[in-house]
Every structure is written in C-alpha cells, then in structure tokens.
C-alpha cells in the first residue's frame, strides 16, 4: 500500500484530506454526545479535546467517583457537571434513554464490552434500530500517499451473508456521500480476482454484488469485485495484472468478506502503522461510536468527529 507511485491515475479532485474532512466537525455547532463508562484515559482525553475543539457537549454516564478518580490520575480537563451518576446496572439504560429522549444526538462506548453496550442500546424500546442492519465503517488514510478510503466491516458483522452485505454496502455509501467521497468506488474484497467455488464464497458475493448494483439500489456508485486488497488500492499493481475498470486501483470503499479481514486491516493501521483511523457504527437512528478499548485518544477523537459529520 505504501508503494503507490501512480497516484495520478486518480483525479486529485477525488482525493480528500482526512484531517480537514474530520475537522469540519469543529465548524458545526457542538452537539450533545453521551458517553458510557468513560473510565479510561483514551476516552476521557478524547472527550475533553472534542469539547474544547467545539465538537461536542459531553454527557458522561458512569460512577462519578470512578470518573473523577481517573480525571485526577490522568490530569484531564473534565467538568464534573458533565457527569450523570448511575450504578453499573443502570448506566447503559440511562445513556440509551438520553438518546431516546433527544437530549443527546449520538453515543459513544467507554469501558464496557461492545456486546453489553449494544445489547442494551438495541432494545426495541429505545428505537435505535432502523430497517437497516448496523455495520461498522472505518475511515483510513494511507500514511504516505494520504489517500483516504472507507472500510466495512471491522467490528459488527461476523460473517455477513449477501443480504447483510447489501446493508453494509448501503451504510458505507451513505457515509461516503456525507463526507464528500465522490465518485464512490467500491471494491468487494476477497483473496483473488476470479470467482472460485465452492472454496471461496466471498468471491461469489463480490461477483453478485456488482450485478446487484445494476438495480440502482445504491444510487450512483461503481462496484467491482472480487478484488484482492492490492487490486483495489494500488493502481500500479492493477496495471501489472491488466485489471481494468472504474474501481481497480482506485477504490475508496473496501467491503471485507468477514470481520476477521476487517479487524486485521484495522489493527494493521493502528498497531503496525501506528496510524489513527476513525470508526463509527452506522445503520441506526444515529451514529454510534464504538472504539476498541485499546484505541488511543487520537483514534477516539477522530471517531467522535467522524460520527458528528454523519448525524442526520
């Protein structure tokens, strides 16, 4: 991914700057974001910075003593008035009710497992669900070329079937439109460029998704696949292999075949490249910030900004 020397094949008009894009969130009026169990340094730091950058007005739901102990320990600028006290059992419910009442516009997970967090949040009474399934959309920037792309799904859908992949693509397309990633070029990832059955079912879904897109379901966008990662992102390698199309080497949305692939790509960026992607769960009534507990404050701050841009 680092050896892309043929970037001129992608029009400069198509390239967006990740930092500039995310910082648009600072130019919009701040909105209330509720945070569940903000006990870790990364969450507290990111929330504090997001407040001072005019992105959010935080509502921190958790045990007040625990939060203030951490604030003191890490020397973070957090205002006590932001805290809504609750017992362990009540915390996710209180947060969900703030979202439901409209008091908060979106929500972020702190030190709580994603399963426990989502279990409460997705109770029908909170009306978070829509006709779409939920999926995680990540925003990445290649360290050298600074090219930005979206990837889904690294966190929610384990082994999505074709129908779920339709929703995953639709959620990612919505995000691309909202952040101005135009034209939308979607690569359905697999390990090879040809359909291999029955050994590689992801290649079948990729092939059929391209065909399904001809119904117009996703609106204006290009979908191609199956593509290996390099064929999706690297124009040079694409040229070597003789692949042609509107997506080959120029993808700005990657759809992974399963959660393992998405998770590995995410962790390669955060652990190996020490990069800072942003991530958000889409498909619900509002964006949901579900960072990994191990993500650092920059990734969390970027995710808060990313989600704000996707409200409404």
């Amino acid at each position: 991914m680092e050896n892309i020397s043929n970037e001129d094949k992608i029009s400069s008009k198509e390239l967006i700057d990740m930092e500039k894009t995310l910082n648009k969130a600072t130019q919009l009026p701040p909105v209330k974001m509720v945070v569940v169990n903000p006990y870790d340094k990364g969450t507290l730091e990111s929330v504090s910075l997001a407040y001072y950058e005019n992105v959010i007005i935080p509502i921190l739901v958790g045990q007040k003593k625990e939060i203030m102990d951490r604030v003191e320990e890490f020397q973070i600028d957090i205002v006590e008035d932001w805290i809504v006290e609750g017992s362990d059992v009540e915390i996710p419910e209180i947060a969900a009710s703030l979202l439901y009442s409209g008091e908060a516009k979106y929500i972020m997970k702190g030190m709580i497992s994603t399963a426990d967090f989502m279990h409460v949040l997705l109770e029908p009474k909170w009306k978070i669900r829509t006709e779409r399934i939920l999926s995680h959309v990540g925003m990445f920037e290649m360290p050298k070329s600074k090219r930005v792309f979206l990837m889904s799904d690294a966190a929610i859908n384990i082994l999505p079937n074709f129908t779920r992949k339709i929703h995953i693509v639709a959620n990612a397309v919505d995000v691309a439109r909202k952040i101005g990633l135009i034209p939308i070029r979607i690569a359905m990832l697999a390990a090879v460029e040809k359909v291999k059955l029955p050994a590689m079912p992801a290649t079948l879904d990729a092939f059929l998704m391209k065909k399904f897109a001809s119904t117009g379901y996703f609106g204006d966008c290009y979908i191609e696949g199956p593509y290996a990662l390099d064929n999706a992102l690297d124009p040079e390698k694409t040229a070597t292999k003789g692949l042609k199309g509107e997506v080959a080497g120029k993808a700005n949305i990657l759809i992974t075949p399963n959660i393992e692939t998405g998770n590995v790509i995410w962790k390669i960026f955060t652990c190996v490249q020490k990069a800072h992607p942003a991530g958000v769960v889409m498909g619900g009534r509002c964006p949901i910030v579900v960072p990994s507990r191990a993500d650092d404050y920059i990734t969390k701050l970027r995710s808060i900004k990313f989600a704000k841009l996707l409200i409404g």
């Binding site: 129908t163 059955l197 029955p198």
Partner: protein, 159 residues
C-alpha cells in the same frame, strides 16, 4: 404409494435392462433409479423408487429374486430408511432477484457451485421433500435446467 427397494446386483452389462423389464412386465413405472458401485467393486446397488401398491411390488420383488445377477433385494417400505438425493439446478440471474435466490439457497443449505453473468448452478443433497421445496421456491426465478439423482438409500437399522 411410493416404495423404495434396494437391489444388490452383479456389476455386469444387461442387468439394469432385466431389472427394468421385471417392473415393466407387471405394469409398474419406475419413479427414480440410482445405481452405483458398492464396497465390493464387482457389485452395484440400485435404489429404486416405484409408485405402486404393495401387492404389485411383491410380485416384482419375487420376479427380481429369480434373476441370476440379483444377489439381494430389500424392501425399505416398512423399515427405517436413511435416504437422500442430489439436485443440480441452474437458475437464471436477474439482478433484482439475486438476494432472493441466495436466501433460498441459504434456507435449504444449498451450495452455489457455479456462476456466470446469466445463470447460477446450485446443488442440494437432501430429502425428497426439501428438494421439492427448493425447486418450488426457485421456479418463479426461472429454472433453466435441472437434474435429480434419484433417491439413494441405506437401511438405518443394523441387522
């Protein structure tokens, strides 16, 4: 009434013809017939499904027993039967119907074994009713071609 017979026969030319003639002589139509090698290479097992009453089947069975190359014949009708057949079905792909076709395949646990721009081939190894069910559900999508193996069976009771 459909009845299932299993014949262990010598794997020789002309045996199938004699067996088919035994049923035809009594006026029984063979609904499906699947034949293949068994654990001994010089023998074959034929799983035959016929649509006939018990008396007619008994007559045919007696006739089969008289054939030199029929080693063993077994009427599964009243026994515990483990059976399955294989379906290969080619359906037309219309973009808007792709999710439905894949949902049907998933519902029946069928495999997509081949795909082109215009068609998809699915395979399903299952019982007769489930195969009938999937064929019925795929029919509105446009079946281009299909092939069923006929029932394969083994006795579920240890003798």
């Amino acid at each position: 009434m459909k009845q299932t017979l299993s014949c262990l026969v010598n794997n020789k030319p002309g045996v199938l013809e004699k067996i088919a003639a035994s049923f035809a002589d009594i006026g029984i139509n063979i609904y499906s017939l699947a034949a293949g090698e068994v654990e001994e290479e010089d023998k074959s097992r034929m799983t035959i499904v016929v649509d006939a009453d018990e008396e007619a089947v008994k007559k045919a069975t007696d006739k089969l027993k008289g054939l030199k190359d029929v080693i063993q014949i077994h009427d599964f009708t009243n026994e515990e039967l483990i059976s399955m057949e294989l379906l290969l079905i080619k359906v037309r792909i219309k973009a808007e119907q792709i999710p439905q076709i894949l949902q049907i395949a998933e519902l029946f646990n069928a495999q997509v074994i081949s795909v082109t721009d215009v068609s998809m081939v699915l395979s399903l190894a299952s019982g007769e009713k489930r195969i009938d069910g999937m064929v019925r559900m795929l029919k509105p999508m446009g079946i281009i071609e299909m092939s069923r193996s006929g029932k394969l069976a083994v006795c579920g009771v240890d003798r």
